[in-house]
């Protein structure tokens, strides 16, 4: 009896000490659920704080070794590229992670791993647009689309990483032509978020918009009937199916260089790509799970299967600053 009490209190004190600290740029209810589930399963306490990706990277940089963060979570592979360049991440060797996360969605040196995916698709007005005009991202520059195209501003990471992927596959000149060509086809100045582009299609301001799938998923399941109405008129084109595939961006996770609770942090990384966790991520936020054993939500599944760009993201994100500059030079807002 005495022994077991001792063991129990030891265990308790161990459980109390076991914790991980997360800096996250994601802030979805799904994430909070995951933290709770992880706590219940392992007894490891999860503390998290949120800010924008760039701010958190700077914070990690300024704090240096004295940082209390063990993990860094953010959307957009470009952020991980910056973080790695600033030397605030460390590589992780984990068979689980390497087995589950496909090569194109993790860093070559294990400095970051995807946890979910978002496809950058082309949405069109089902009421009056013939989708056969568009097969590839490159088709967005066709003169037939003049005055019909809608997109958010070049400061959106989704757009810069898309352009970076075009640079990676086609080169700078083609990318520059693409930036100019799409700009010339815009129905209005780039502004608002992805949903605003969808609403503009509904309002008849344009007929084609570059969007992320999960926004359409969120709108289809919105509490606001008007949002559902908007999303229902949208058709989805997965571009570049006959060649490199549709561009996919990620949310991901990385171990910080200053991590003090390394072992538990890696446990969390492995947990978050486990089928159990992936189901929660995919179910609530309409993102694609990175674990292929898990199906996407029904809403997203209805868009159909598609071929994903197989170029590793770690390669294309190196072109992000070039992409930002090309947009500027082309005169994008």
């Amino acid at each position: 009896m005495k022994k077991s009490i001792l063991a129990l209190s030891l265990l308790a004190s161990f459980a109390l000490a076991a914790e991980i600290n997360i800096y996250s740029a994601r802030h979805y209810d799904a994430d909070t659920q995951l933290y709770k589930l992880f706590e219940e399963k392992t007894g490891i306490k999860v503390n998290a704080t949120q800010a924008k990706g760039g701010e958190l990277i700077k914070k990690l940089e300024v704090e240096g070794d004295s940082s209390i963060a063990d993990l860094f979570i953010t959307a957009d592979a470009g952020n991980f590229h910056t973080a790695k360049k600033k030397g605030v991440l460390q590589s992780v060797k984990s068979q689980t992670l390497e087995k589950i996360v496909p090569v194109q969605y993790r860093d070559a040196e294990g400095c970051w791993f995807a946890i979910s995916k978002r496809a950058r698709i082309i949405a069109y007005d089902k009421r009056n647009f013939d989708p056969s005009i568009i097969k590839n991202y490159e088709d967005l520059t066709k003169p037939e689309l003049k005055g019909k195209l809608l997109i958010r501003s070049a400061t959106a990471a989704y757009n810069t990483s898309l352009l970076a992927s075009i640079i990676e596959s086609q080169g700078m000149d083609a990318a520059s032509k693409w930036a100019k060509g799409t700009l010339a086809n815009l129905a209005r100045d780039p502004k608002g978020g992805d949903r605003d582009q969808a609403k503009a299609i509904f309002a008849g301001e344009g007929q084609v918009a570059v969007m992320n799938t999960y926004y359409i998923g969120l709108m289809l399941n919105s509490p606001k009937p008007e949002d559902v109405e908007v999303a229902k008129i949208l058709g989805v084109i997965f571009p570049n199916q006959d060649n490199r595939g549709t561009h996919v961006n990620i949310s991901g996770i990385a171990l910080t260089k200053a991590a003090k609770n390394k072992e538990n942090a890696i446990k969390f990384m492995e947990f978050i790509v486990s089928p159990e966790a992936q189901k929660i991520l995919a179910g609530i936020n309409y993102e694609y799970p990175v674990n292929t054993a898990v199906e996407p939500s029904d809403t997203i599944k209805a868009f159909g299967k598609f071929k994903e760009d197989s170029t590793p993201l770690y390669k294309s994100v190196e072109k992000i600053s070039e992409a930002v500059k090309i947009f500027d030079m082309a005169g994008w807002k």
Partner: protein, 515 residues
Amino acid sequence: MNIKFWAITVALIILVPIISIFFEIAFGDYSNLEHFFKYLFLRYIQGTFLVAFGVLALSATIAVISAWIVANYRFPFANFFEYALMLPLAIPAYIFSFCYVGIMEFQGYFHKIFGFRLDFMNIYGAIFVLSLSLYPYIYMFAKTSFKTQSKVLFDVCKIYKLSQFKIFKVAVMLSRPAIIGGAMLVLMETLSDYGTVAYYGVTTFSAGIFKLWFDLGDSYSASILAAMLMVLVFVIMIFEHINKNSKGYSFNTHNIAKTTAKSELGNIGKILAFLWCFVIFCLAFLFPVVWLVYWSIMTIQDFKLEFITMAGNSLLMAIISAILITFISFFLVFSTRIIKNNKLNTFLLKTTSLGYALPGASIGLCVMIVFGYIDRNFGTQFLSASFVVLIFGYIVRFLATSVYAVESGYAKIPKNIDDASLLLNKSKFTLFFKVHLPLLRHFFFLSLIVVFIDIVKELPLSLILRPLGFETLSIRAFFYATDERLYAAALPSLLIVLLSLAAVIWLEIISRKKA
């Protein structure tokens, strides 16, 4: 120790993070700057000037006319509007901009009622939204000033049979320190705004700072832009300071106790005054709040108990910081009265106010650099695990609001009162507590209210500098909104508005009781 020593010390401590931006510059590589100046600079400068000019003109017009009407005339609901017109201050500009997009979008209320749409997401929309959310700064300052204007002066005006319009002009001239003080706050808020301009696709200087920092991952070049913005604002401040000091403003208020009596308006006048106030109130408060309430009800099932904790967090931080900041600014402004060295005074008041013009994220960056240095070298963990950093950040950013409130009050106390008091061998301590503070009671509360609300609404600083696991309402609202989940953002946004409202009403009651 004398006052001068302490004033300089306090000012320097507040200045450290602002200056650290120049150190950040010294260690950067500038490869992105050339690109920025070549392709973007002109566009960003243009955008900044247009937005700043538009917001200043529109908000000053709304504020001064409204303040004049409610301070001087009796008309239906005049008392209600006197306070109601301050309320837009309770709505953060970024939430304002989301509300108006919601109202003006296709199938929004405007479209449903009028059958057509106005494109709102552009520079005009940004000017409109920023003006409506910021005019209360000028309004509150102007109103307080109009109400405490000497009755004797207006008696003189009446003897000369000046028209109402001319009296208005005289009053505006006399209230210039207060109006310009408010306008400076509006200008600085506009320059530092990021949420609205980014959402509406307007290119301003602070958008440029974020572009360099976040899009190009280059916080060094971003710091250079921030420093440029700071220098620009400093120049404007000095200009304003010299201009203010060249006029002998303190003559106007020998008789503060005798405030002007409100006069009766004719029937048409009453209707016009009512309509003016009603329209402003609807546009700047009622419409967005109704929209928020509606969406809060629709999403009430998403209400979480943690919202209460967040509200508590917001409240606590705002109260502590508002008191600290008001205390510091009173000390600084009082010191400048005693020191009487114009250059040193300019330094004390203006440089410590610079934080207000920088985007919150840049201030956050500066404060982070300073405490990061301390943490790394002294083995402390201020940055990730304490409120000291956050509160310090608030002080650096919001001292200006308080300083302008207090200064505009001090401008009304003739300096010979100080001399008289000191000549009578009263201590400086007595002068402050027995003479100045009673005279400045209104401005003391004004400072508390404005700073409190500023902090409840504040976003980027809280985002970057808060300790692990600490969350405020504005952070939650912002996260929902950036995810384009505007409806989910309604509930926490509404709580922010209610919290600020409670503060305004509570402080109003207190200041009346003691009046």
